[in-house]
Symmetry: C2
DNA sequence: TGTCGTACTACGACTGTCGGAGTAAATATA
DNA sequence: TATATTTACTCCGACAGTCGTAGTACGACA
């Protein structure tokens, strides 16, 4: 079975993560599970990729973090919330996706890629 | 207008280039023009990206090069021809594209990306 | 004479992803 | 009760593909 390579997914992780923040704040572990579930196990994001995306996007102002200190055992969990700039970025990335899709499909040979 | 970023196109340049080699050998400058034309100016590949893709794909056995020495002014031109392994790679990349497309579109919010 | 088009090559920088390791508490399983 | 798994991260360095910049060299056109 074809696998999604890192070079191919690169640039879409942001979309994927932001999509899962559109309605509610969330945190790393949950987002990682949601990606897996929603993609029907076709894409499993690496933890390092996910957390470094959080860091990068927070630095760029697309998401904000806040910490839940009240978990059992004094553990804490870092939540992320999408900002207006993040929504705008998501919109732009979606547009870019549409365009990219259109372009790439000009270079895919016919039905089922018969070559 | 949305622009195609390097992170988004990354991983598809191979498909694009190989597609243009499926029927006939070609060379850098021509391929670059064809990409521009076929994509209706939506994607203009950088020269360095194109030529380094040639080098990489030749090293991987997906394409073979041969030189035309007989151009006017003693100039030469390096052509590339797709190999059977290259065709197989193209096929596999196309499959990967189908899968990736399916996955990504689960994270695109509705028609026109209304967020 | 100078610019544009053709057809590349070289080099180093950048960035997102990844592999591997480590931490630590809560919960499930035997 | 002992062990494994799940939860929830953090840190570090490596890698690979793309990109910016620069340079070469010839021919055609104005």
């Amino acid at each position: 079975m074809a696998e999604i390579s890192s070079d191919v997914i690169r640039g879409y992780n942001d979309i994927i993560i932001l999509y899962l923040l559109l309605n509610d704040p969330s945190y790393g572990y949950e987002i990682s599970k949601q990606i897996r579930t929603l993609s029907e196990d076709k894409y499993i994001i690496k933890e390092t990729t996910l957390y470094s995306a959080f860091t990068r996007m927070e630095k760029n102002g697309f998401i904000e973090s806040f910490v839940d200190q009240d978990l059992a055992g004094g553990k804490k969990r870092t939540y992320y919330r999408i900002t207006p700039a993040g929504r705008e970025y998501y919109r732009a990335k979606c547009e870019e996706w549409m365009l990219t899709k259109e372009v790439i499909e000009k270079f895919i040979a016919g039905e089922g890629c018969v070559v």
